[in-house]
């Protein structure tokens, strides 16, 4: 990966006649256009990514502040209006579920949980995956072979099954969901990071640093990891939707977040049972879920195209 920063100078148009360089240096602002700026500009040109970004921003604001707008709370059971369709008069803007809880508030609160699970579980797999991959790639040789062999072995385990086992053994606390999903998901990240590290390791930059006597950890921290950020960002944005979907599968199996907390996955699962008799219980959470997943995917694709157009992941 190209780890070098490009500098280009923009000279001002009026150049002093006798000493062009002195004049230039005195006047011209040195505006560095880094790789990040380039990338940023490329992202901005991707309409889908930009739209998605804005939508996600709105989404985040909604899930944080939206519930305050409603008079209902997420756990109040309105016995007079169970399974009732959206109704502006009662204040149940998205309708109610089978025990009379307001779907508007539940959907937004569910969004908090889904997004939280998405982000945190991804972070867990990120931390594990990056460290593992960087170490394997950097040290190379036997260490690398052994570590990657372990990855192969773990890859052969049926993923869903192990998440279920972990949930069964350790209970259904939400922290556990973060850890369980994250712990099973880090393999791809590890492989990618290892590949990148292998490449980076052999650049002149790093060789020079080693020649100067910089320690291994310092090299990993200062030279390898920052150059992985591009790949990592892309991976994170593409993993979050996967994680949210995995949590929804767990909810289907009855192993997702515990009541009274809910997630989009759990709401969608409940709603799918009644899609004909109470379609609002499905429609709203599903719309939020689908839009969010689309947005993350578009953003991730946009970032990938922008940051590392030749990257194969």
């Amino acid at each position: 990966m190209r780890g070098l920063f490009k500098f280009s100078q923009v000279l001002s148009t009026d150049v002093a006649a006798d000493d062009p360089f002195a004049a230039a240096l005195a006047q011209a602002p040195i505006k560095g256009r880094s790789l990040w700026a380039d990338a940023w500009h490329r992202v901005l040109r991707n309409r889908a990514a930009v739209t998605s970004g804005i939508v996600m921003l709105v989404m985040v604001l909604l899930v944080i502040f939206g519930p305050m707008l409603s008079e209902w709370s997420g756990d109040y059971t309105d016995w007079d209006h169970t399974s009732s369709p959206p109704d502006l008069e009662t204040g149940h803007w998205f309708g109610t579920d089978a025990v009379g809880r307001d779907i508007f508030v539940r959907t937004l609160q569910g969004g908090r949980i889904s997004l939280l699970v998405g982000v945190v579980a991804t972070l867990v797999s990120l931390v594990i995956g990056v460290s593992y991959g960087a170490i394997a790639g950097y040290y190379g040789g036997t260490t690398d072979r052994l570590m990657m062999r372990a990855v192969d072995i773990i890859y052969a385990l049926p993923f869903m099954f192990f998440v279920i086992l972990l949930m069964v053994v350790f209970g259904r606390h939400i922290l556990l969901i973060f850890v369980a999903i994250g712990a099973v998901n880090w393999l791809d990240m590890a492989r990618i990071v290892r590949g990148q590290t292998l490449g980076l390791k052999n650049t002149e930059y790093v060789e020079a640093a080693r020649a100067c006597g910089v320690g291994h950890w310092a090299i990993i921290r200062r030279h390898i990891v920052p150059n992985l950020i591009g790949v990592v960002i892309v991976y994170v944005t593409l993993t979050i939707p996967q994680v949210i979907l995995v949590e929804s599968f767990l909810s289907f199996l009855g192993l997702g977040v515990q009541e009274p907390m809910s997630s989009w996955g759990a709401l969608v699962n409940d709603g799918a049972q009644d899609m004909e008799s109470a379609p609002w219980t499905l429609a709203f959470p599903a719309a939020f879920l689908t839009i969010t997943l689309y947005c993350f995917n578009y953003i991730g694709d946009g970032l990938r195209d922008a940051l590392d157009p030749k990257d194969k992941s």
């Binding site: 059971t77 089978a98 259904r172 009855g254 009274p260 049972q273």
Partner: protein, 560 residues
């Protein structure tokens, strides 16, 4: 007939006019005349989940029960309305002290492979059921039989069991206590006969199609695991001439929504259950097919009396019991016509008047006021609210009820209840160990039509007494009830036992179960019964008629 809650049954409309309506059901001497019968007499029943086994002595759970009742027949069996009628035995004598039963088997009783059904078959089978090596889960059904407890625990060999054959077709069973419901027990799969020769020849494979020899109205034709189980009429069944359904197919459809859709698509005649939240919709769209009827089961939550906050806290428990508005719960939450319940033994038990606590006649406001008073008396208040966990196993229905209960406790008392949804095995283990549970989902579906099946749960030694309930009066009464022969006295003692149990509040009673399913309106020959036992042998399918019309009632043109 079926209790379909006030749907007018005017026939389907619009897009659903494609649903077939039955012709008039015409009976001659109680049997349908051939011209009203459909050409293909194959009943397709949804059955919830794959049965664990088709060995009647090992089977557990409702799905296997349905299939086994079609495959086998015990000494007694049940009529469509639930009455006990002769089965493999054509008549019996009961001794004056109620301890000796002599059964005279039908001479024409036969196995599906033609072998005669003899008393020795029953001796062998009941011994096998009691044999600790068989490890049956229903050992308790055999307890009334003399020495059964000792045989089950391995203290005595199986031939010590009080079951002998007096001659080829005469069977004698001796009991330890006069058990008035003993004839009901004989209709239970744990007391069905099994064919000794095939058991010995095939071992564990004896329940495969082709190997399984059964004595009921049907034989096992196909078993595609988790796909379908196919039964075919047993030509050697003594009542084969009256059996109209040629084949019965059981589909283990686990997903409730899919089962409903399968029914709607016309691929299923009889569902196992219906989706929880759709009562109104079903009543509007399938009024003729929706069948809701009382079931011998009581739904309640248990208190763990061995742990805080329920140790020695009668006031608190009573407060929690009174704070629940059962009418709202059954009306708005479960919605299927469950009966709100304040007592343990559900309605529908023959010859039994349940014990009704006094607060049943109060208004809900009065109950809530008393609840608040008792809550304060127990030392709780808004500053110091009760914090308690409600545990339940993963299920849509349990979740809804638990939510409702937690919500009501909060709104009436200010108590804070957290819900803990556990997976089945974890839930069972926690209940059994009594270490972490406080309030937990419980309930009981009766194994036989007698209050004893409910009352015995509260004996201090009962394996399922996860409440830690121990009341020596109740234990003593249960003992006396077992040995009481006079029905009137027995009823009174049972009522007193029930009264004491309810008074002690070891549980929070919520409602009496109902069964709810969809049945194709062309399927006849069955009736609601409180045990929910529906034998395929009496059923038949009517022809479909093209024009739609109201709900048909059978017209009997013969005999009485």
């Amino acid at each position: 007939m079926a209790v379909s809650c006030d749907g007018q049954g005017d026939g389907p409309e619009g897009g659903r006019s494609s649903r077939p309506q039955p012709v008039e059901d015409v009976l001659l001497d109680g049997r349908p005349i051939p011209s009203v019968l459909a050409d293909e007499q194959v009943l397709i029943r949804g059955n919830g989940e794959e049965p664990q086994t088709l060995d009647p002595h090992l089977a557990e759970g409702v799905p296997s029960g349905h299939i086994l009742r079609d495959l086998f027949e015990g000494l007694t069996t049940e009529a469509p309305d639930g009455r006990i009628i002769p089965g493999a035995a054509s008549r019996w004598n009961i001794s004056a002290d109620g301890l000796t039963y002599t059964f005279y088997l039908r001479r024409d009783g036969a196995w599906s492979n033609g072998d005669a059904l003899t008393a020795e078959d029953f001796v062998f089978s009941i011994r096998r059921s009691a044999d600790p090596v068989t490890a049956s889960n229903y050992g308790n059904m055999l307890y009334p039989i003399a020495n059964a407890r000792e045989v089950l625990s391995g203290e005595l060999p199986t031939d010590a069991l009080g079951v002998t054959s007096l001659d080829r077709f005469t069977l004698q069973i001796t009991l330890t206590d006069p058990t008035p419901y003993f004839l009901n027990l004989l209709a239970h799969p744990s007391l069905y006969p099994v064919h000794r020769a095939s058991l010995e020849a095939h071992g564990r494979q004896f329940s495969r199609p082709g190997n399984l020899v059964s004595n009921g109205a049907y034989m096992l034709e196909e078993w595609a695991i988790r796909s379908h189980i196919g039964l075919v009429k047993n030509p050697n069944y003594h009542g084969a001439d009256d059996v109209i359904l040629e084949r019965v197919r059981y589909l283990p459809i686990e997903d409730q929504s899919t089962e409903l859709k399968t029914f709607r698509a016309g691929e299923l005649h009889w569902t196992y259950e219906v989706p929880n939240n759709q009562f109104k919709w079903l009543r509007e769209n399938y009024p003729d097919e929706l069948v809701v009827s009382p079931w011998l089961g009581s739904y309640f939550f248990g208190f763990n009396l061995l742990r805080e906050p329920f140790i020695d806290s009668p006031d608190l428990r009573r407060a929690l019991v009174l704070a629940i508005d059962r009418d709202v719960l059954t009306d708005k939450v479960t919605q299927f016509g469950e009966l709100p319940s304040y007592n343990l033994v559900p309605p529908g038990v023959t010859d039994y008047e349940p014990a009704i606590p006094d607060y049943v006649s109060w208004t809900q406001e009065e109950r809530e006021a008393e609840a608040r008073r008792l809550y304060a008396l127990a030392g709780y208040s808004a500053e110091k609210p009760l914090r308690v966990e409600i545990r339940y196993n993963t299920s849509e229905n349990h979740k809804k009820v638990a939510l409702a209960i937690a919500s009501m406790w909060k709104q009436v008392l200010g108590a804070i209840a957290t819900l803990v949804n556990e997976e089945w095995k974890v839930f069972l283990q926690n209940r059994d160990q009594q270490v972490v549970t406080q309030v937990f989902r419980a309930g009981w579906i009766g194994d036989y039509n007698d209050p004893h099946t409910f009352l015995s749960l509260f004996h201090s030694d009962h394996g399922l007494n996860d409440y830690g309930y121990s009341n020596s009066t109740v234990d003593a009464l249960l003992q006396e009830i077992s040995s009481e022969r006079i029905p009137g006295r027995r009823q009174r003692m049972m009522q007193e036992t029930e009264r004491i149990i309810i008074e002690d509040d070891p549980i929070l009673l919520v409602y009496a179960y109902v069964t709810r399913r969809l049945v194709d309106s062309r399927v006849r020959g069955w009736q609601d019964n409180v045990m929910d036992h529906h034998y395929s042998r009496g059923m038949y399918i009517l022809k479909a008629r093209s024009a739609s019309s109201g709900r048909a009632k059978p017209v009997d043109v013969g005999g009485e």
